[in-house]
Amino acid sequence: MQIIKKIGLFIFLIGLTVFTILPFIGEFKVTPATMDQIIREKGISSEFFIDRMQENVVGKQFQGMLSLSPKITQALEAANAQHRKNKEYKKIIYTGPHDLAATVGKGSGSGFIVENKGLMWFLTFGLGIIGALLFIVPNVVLLGQKGIKNNGIYHENATNRGWIAWLVFVFLVSFYLVLYFRSEFAVNWTYLVDPISEFLSGNPAGHWFVYGFMYCTVMTVMAVRMYIKYRHNMYQMVRTTSVLFFQIVFAFLIPEIMVRLQMPYYDFKNAFPLDYDFFFQWNLKSLLNSGGIGLFILVWGIVLTLVIVPVMVYFFGKRWYCSWVCGCGGLAETLGDPYRQHSSKSLFSWKVERWLVHGVLVFAVGMTMMTLYSFFTESGTVLGLKTQSVQNTYSLLIGAFFAGVIGTGFYPIFGNRVWCRFGCPLAAYLGFVQRFKSRFRITTNGGQCISCGNCSTYCEQGIDVRAYAQKGENIVRSSCVGCGICSAVCPRGVLKLENGPLKGRINPTEVLLGNDVDLMELVNNK
């Protein structure tokens, strides 16, 4: 069994290596036809840029994106600088330099990778999936009897912030940086999934399709790991199936199919304010121009945030969204599960958490109010602030850095819920409802707690669960996403996630159950 695991790891690493090398290799040949088409589609009117491109790029052969990309970005930046200087504002190119490089790259790839998409898919995704499964599945036997199997988590390099964890950290952060800021280097990855994208939406794949496909793949493979590790725990099995379903069907398949049907791309479960650009002008316009379905989405998006989300939180706690439906939560609960113990439980972190997460919520709501004001009054500024620049700041700082680079990249070091705990504005909103008006609580079982600390250690949201359990208090914290792991790892059966009446939900207990009844009355009635 150990041998199978090792072979699996080896195969996985081959797949990962090929995947990692891809951004740096491949041939690109920009034909005049491709160039003309891009100029037309992007509406580029800068002769300066076109001349530079004709001179340096068109008709030439490039080995790897590293040699092609600078030519394009430099041409664009030089052109824009020239036009700004000459006040030729109409000629400025507003497409980002790296986006344009990606577009040019996508249209001009040639050679082995482009001609062997299926094979290349197999050498990257295929080997990755096979290797990972060979690594994971032997655990059915190796883990022995069913039950909690956390043996060695703090002895192993990968799960105890050792060098492997740091390598994973560097890899994930780099991957997100490429995705958000250097998408031209993702061009070769897009070829691998072109056939799948064309099958679904009819369009060739962009780098966000690569991300979406990879997201689903990683979640599925790591869900297999969850099923094996928590096979004694039905709550975990059902919950894992649920997040997997919502990711694959709602976040991935439905939006792609909607594009094929000439409808707007929309993820029906992605609620504002997590879906921060829902009220952005371009989105509202696109929805309003898409007829019945657009209108439906608009109404659905508003009802989802204002009615469905809080009502569901009232009945089930925010877990129904955060750990049963949400995509971010889905990745955290599958890929992130081996790192859940790294969330800090200190009081200091809790203070930081409250400032940050509520700060982001205020930011998101404020930005949206500005956006709507601008939309209806058709003015670009509110109180002297440019709406567009506030939106750009949010997209960069919160959308890209916080949610992506930090949110997932920092898994191996700070735990799997960094974004959900410190940054997600929707989680903050749900948290208010959960804390003040919800039937959900984690019940503490009388006096059974032995303060061992497993619950706190494995809480991904950094809640010091033990602090409540050892006092006999129920846990009603706003940040709890109801993953159920505290209950699973408890060796004494102390914790239970449940939805019950509001009465008795918060139970002040100065003296725990089991000690003399008179004393309890005395202290509690004082």
């Binding site: 060695g152 032995i450 706190s456 239970k496 003399d516």
Partner: protein
Amino acid sequence: MEHIVIIGNGISGITAARHIRKLSDKKITIISAESDYFFSRTALMYVYMGHMKFEHTQPYENWFWKKNRLNLVHGYVTQVDTANKKLILNGSEEMGYDKLIIATGSKPNKFGWPGQDLKGVQGLYSKQDLELLETNAPNNEVCKRAVIVGGGLIGIELAEMLRSRDIPVTFLVREDSFWNGVLPEGESQMINEHILEHHIDLKLGTNLKEIIADENGWAKAVVTDKGEMIPCTVVGLTAGVAPNIDFLKGSGIELGKGVKVNNFLETNITDVYAIGDCAEQHESIGNRRPVEAVWYTGRMMGETLAQTICGNKTAYNPGHWFNSAKFLDIEYQTYGWVFSERAKKDHEQHFHWRHPKEKICVTIAFHRDTKLFLGINTFGIRMRHEILDRWLTEKRSVSYVLEYLKDANFDPEFYAEYEQAIISCYNSHYGTNIRPKKKSWKRIFSNV
């Protein structure tokens, strides 16, 4: 300002300190030679197994103590001078007190086995024991085999720990079935099976005769009373614990097995109290033993004594017995009294149900004639403490308990439910016609 000195920073001493601080502004000093900060002893096993780091076993952050003006002193109390109300620390330093709380816990039992003090022979109780085990048995190359002597809760925990590093384990149990002085037969039998499933070499009805040394004074083998010689590197002595009170000899404080206390937790000397594992009640409370080495009783004594010390004199009066443990993968909970065949009285009758495939079982004890519910043991099913405590207080009958059993279930959501199977088994056994009632939140919260 009155100076309260607490010897021992375990759950009893720390709970007393916390509650005294909540209720008063007294000066509080806590002395320990074991660790700088309070940690959960019950969690030591998880550190060895790699579930947690040692710091995770500490329920309070390090700033907590200073903030709450709880003075921590690292030291070993060598003498208590009750006449002059002072302690001698580390043989020389003096410390005065106004009130003294002895909360020094237990130490592992050793029964005079030949070779019991050899290198490689150890108990599992303190932080130091954990560190020693890490040296003695870091992996299965250094430790070729471990022999554990004593089939109780610590013994099975130690076995689980060593197995987590694939170290072969032989488990010597004096009884002819695991822990059957406490557990009824069916349950004890199920745990026997589970121990074997974990590839632990379980030797029932077997006693340690001696431990044999190699030329360097290390244990190299044990000899059992059946004449078998078992080569090994580490010997774990886990035959129970006894109060850790040797330092009190000659202090004038009355000692028996432990520090003798009345039900206000007072010793024979004014202003000296004892709580937790080291305290021995003059008269046992209900069916409880005079010395109770249980986590929550230590906590409860701390809560109670804090009241007394802060002017609200309160007797220690634990409610209905309850406890829990985990045997490898099987969780165990008990509420009320379910005695083993060896210990039970004539009127105590048992109803036992065991799942046909899974390692799940339930034993309900009731009065043979009155059908009064006496207690329940569950393995692999979690129960709601509050409900069972209430039923015991209300003196419910066994049929009432079965009828409303769903109210008491505490398993996570979506778990398979066994009430129907348990009740039909009871019905067919006793010719009754009990039907389970649906779980009701109203009933669960009716007393809140």
